[in-house]
Symmetry: C2
């Protein structure tokens, strides 16, 4: 049975030592002192460790079942769901106007990390609900908000996102699901949606589907798409549940992982739907859900890496095989714990340095969202918009890689189900695919975000890193050498890649498209390098001021040095690949593959 020990100390370090949240000047942040966040994180930790984590292998082994249109979740899920509701976790960062607690998105992210580490498949039920809440909150009418939000916030109702159809995933312009206007102002929705996470289940009393469909007369492609609310049960004027709507689950997908979450084929047979936002402007509304979801998926990536790492670390500290090459570390035992071996350490440090860097990156991003939304900061909004595909694409690629590395630490034990590592690998794999494959993220980054507003956001990013370096260099030779110099080099590589795209851009758009994936990874490394430099500074300050556990702070510095020395050199490789341009990628005819 795998372990999970919520990393609240690491979270507190990021929140207070690195981000100094209570002094961030963001409305709602002033209350986030160490004690308050410790209390919230501590409660979430207990639920995660004691309730959600033990259910994770159960959900994997049992999966969901469909019988006569009814989907049953694994044993224990309903009870856990009730505990989540009762604890108020579903309403944590929702609008108080609709029953939410109004906590910052940042706190929702920290708590979310624990829930995802403990049980990703389970947490998706509420994750999707949160997305539906956000879309209605941002684009719904007053009446829709009053009708749906309080119950979504409470969790007594849940939500879904319905985009994909059998013949179209990425290319939503091909959608065939139809929405015919009815006399009462509602619509009749007809079509089939696939891969609908939490599409049908037994955890909530009602399910509010958000569905993309085409109203006749709309434009071609994505222009003709509108967004609809399609409740499983229609809602009466008094808020009580009415008639069953004509939406049914036609099947469950058999898949590699996240077995505890029901992935449904959803059939809409003239189901009653209500337009959300403007007619034919459904894509815009959907992107509200999608951008939030993408950051949430990036978080899933590293959160699965975190729990996998914890299990790898425990194994490496416990398993006795071979001897330290410099002399026995455990002379009274038959062998030394394998954590003495350099290659086992290399593997563990690759995991640790990624997960901790990714956490800082995600929290920093969440803080930007709060700054944008709560303080109306347009620059923060542009920056998080730029970074969203990096958070999604880089953190899920590396998060999955981390689960694979952790599995490797266990050797053969990593391959058998009993130890749980292989489930983390199977579960985390989906994060690279859903909410837009990571290839699509890289296109979003290079094809859209990079050039937005004349490249303002990426310029601001470079300025920020430069200003950071300027501010801190020269104070500590070792820190300059170990942190700032590698960060400068990596940032220079990123700039060179950006320059290459710009130079090629006009005459050869395929040069940028051929390098987009490498650019996303290059960018991700620079971001994590930047985070490690920030964390290194914070740890140095804490050591100098005698705050916190010195061994913990020293470990932060050492882990940062590892990332800088061993992971950041990847930027040169990505730049070289990008610099080779489109030719190596475009030469072959389709038939020559």
């Amino acid at each position: 049975m795998p372990i999970y020990d919520a990393p609240t100390r690491d979270m507190q370090f990021v929140l207070h030592d690195v981000l100094a949240v209570s002094e961030a000047g963001i409305p709602g942040y002033e209350e986030l002192d160490r004690e308050t966040t410790a209390a919230i994180l501590g409660e979430a930790a207990r639920l995660s460790e004691n309730v959600l984590a033990p259910l994770n292998p159960v959900g994997d082994a049992q999966g969901c079942t469909l019988e006569n249109g009814v989907v049953r979740t694994p044993e224990g899920f309903r009870d856990a769901y009730e505990q989540m509701r009762a604890g108020g976790w579903m309403s944590l960062d929702a609008d108080p106007e609709y029953g939410g607690q109004g906590m910052p998105y940042l706190i929702g992210s920290a708590v979310g990390e624990m829930f995802v580490s403990a049980n990703m498949a389970f947490n998706m039920y509420q994750g999707l609900t949160h997305g539906a809440y956000s879309a209605i909150h941002a684009h719904g009418s007053e009446e829709q908000k009053r009708t749906y939000l309080p119950n979504l916030v409470d969790g007594i109702w849940s939500g879904t996102m319905n985009l994909t159809e059998p013949h179209c995933g990425t290319d939503l312009g091909l959608i065939r699901t139809k929405a015919e206007p009815a006399d009462d102002g509602s619509y009749r929705i007809t079509g089939q949606k696939i891969w609908i996470s939490a599409g049908e289940h037994d955890l909530s009393e009602n399910i509010i589907h958000l569905v993309l469909a085409k109203v006749p007369g709309g434009g071609e492609g994505t222009k003709g798409i509108s967004l609809f609310i399609v409740p499983k049960f229609l809602v009466n004027a008094d808020g009580s549940l009415g008639e069953r709507n004509a939406v049914t689950c036609g099947g469950l997908e058999s898949k590699m992982g996240i077995h505890g979450n029901a992935t449904c084929v959803m059939n809409y047979d003239g189901a009653t739907g209500y337009l959300v936002g403007e007619l034919h402007k459904g894509m815009r509304a959907m992107f509200t859900m999608m951008n939030e979801a993408r950051i949430g998926v990036g978080l899933q990536g590293y959160a699965q890496g975190e729990v996998a790492y914890q299990n790898a670390r425990a194994f490496a500290q416990d398993r006795l095989q071979g001897r330290d090459v410099t002399g026995p570390a455990n002379p009274d035992g038959p062998a030394d714990p394998i954590i003495v071996h350099p290659d086992v350490r290399r593997n563990l440090l690759q995991q640790k340095s990624f997960v901790e860097g990714a956490r800082a990156f995600t929290f920093w991003g969440a803080q930007m969202i709060d700054r944008a939304e709560r303080a109306g900061d347009a620059e923060a909004d542009a920056m998080i918009s730029l970074l969203t595909p990096v958070i999604k694409g880089f953190l899920t690629d590396k998060g999955f890689e981390t689960t694979v590395l952790a599995q490797q630490t266990l050797g053969g034990s990593g391959f058998v189900k009993e130890w749980g590592l292989e489930q983390f690998v199977r579960d985390s794999r989906i994060t690279m695919i859903y909410e837009g494959t990571n290839g699509i993220q890289s296109l979003d980054l290079v094809g859209r975000k990079l050039g937005q507003d004349g490249g303002k956001a990426i310029m601001a990013f470079f300025e920020m890193v430069k200003a950071f370096n300027k501010e801190h260099e020269g104070a500590d030779e070792a820190f300059d050498r170990d942190f700032l110099e590698p960060l400068k080099q990596a940032s220079k590589d990123l700039q060179s890649a950006g320059m290459f795209f710009m130079q090629q851009g006009m005459k050869n758009p395929q040069a940028a498209l051929s390098g987009s994936y490498d650019f996303m990874h290059l960018f991700g490394h620079v971001c994590l390098g930047f985070m490690w430099a920030k964390m290194g500074l914070a740890a140095k300050a804490a050591l100098a001021e005698g705050r916190g556990d010195p061994a913990f702070m020293e470990a932060k510095l050492a882990t940062g040095r590892y990332y800088m020395a061993r992971q950041l050199p990847a930027t040169g490789m990505h730049l070289a690949r990008i610099g080779s341009g489109a030719a190596p990628v475009m030469e072959l005819d389709a038939a020559q593959f």
Copy 2:
């Protein structure tokens, strides 16, 4: 249902255009003309495509079952096994003295690649048998050879390797299984072995277990280990099956993949065993099986990559989403096949350039084995000994990565079971673990192989690459630029890494151990770069001489250019990591992780 189309044309290209096997001057190779190998490969292709591949998802879904000590393999496995036997595939490269056909190891490898691509879990039954055959053939007595080899060669009996115990995998010195001498010269074997592939099943009449155990009075650690034959059924003097031996399957592992292969807990309760080779010299005999097995596992890695790539390619050529950025490629359809998109091509080319390079590398290695064994070439023997951990470690890491990339090509379809991609990911994952984890391979490479005979083999490798470059440079500017220059740079990086280890070696053994994994990958890239340069030359020659399909040869050159431009730059990153030395890896205390 996934497809499999045996890549016989690619194999013929490596055998004849690149390796020129019929002129290689190796005994037994003179018969390997294009027609002969085409006939053999064609037959193996039919069996792989029509019998083995369709059984692959069946084996995954059904798995093996254990009831009252009897293990049943999935439906259809017995029939397929009989077809393999009847076709003579099990005896292909075995010694004619014992009923084998005496074909080169190289041909066994080419055929093996197809069997593994088609159905890895199934093919392991005969793979293990081959290993047992090799150990007895190399170390058994005349009587043991006569008693066991003919039936192992025929396949009517099968074999296993029994190393791991619950408390020891890598560190075999900790083995507790005991072998007590009996009066008749045999031994009584007592102990428990775990993770025994094909340990018990219903495909063969007898199972010949090769078991590591300690005879009292042997030395400490691995010195006290001996190797034993422990047949499931004892064999009477006339060769007929006698009494059931005291060896039983105590359980089947539930695991991530290779469900069609029975992974057994084996209990030895005073079972009768027969010493193979010298007393207390069991490790040496076991290494015969292990070295062969390691190359076979490397082959599994890229063979799974090959079949995954084929399915990704087919999907990308078929799936319509989005439009070519330079103008519609399929103007009459609703969208273009996704293979028009640069990032999809990048992904496919990463797969394709690896798999084809890995095939050339493995075939080249197999030819070295034949040269060593059939022509008594000591240099070839030393070279393949050096390269074995690279073949195992690099090709399985990258082979697994290839299955993940292929899965990514399919987007959501890659995650659902129906399309079969996720099975390739789950099955190939074990190749990075068994027969020595890839971490162990890197230690074998850096800690043992590199320095052997004063570094003679690695020096010979560098000389070989240098001589190749010297011989071919200056003839074709484009080839120099696209192939030879990158190869030179990569080879220089490898030399620099080797130098760094040597300089550090004396004062800091941990510097080499901290860089061993990166060194293995660096070496692997240089080998594949070398292979691509060889394949590029061969394709150029074929084009110049009007041999073969020009589109095929052009594709080889373009794929090679991709590898050189986009994959080989990884060597610089690995060198940078290695150059950071032991400090980043060794700084943390075990408790600080």
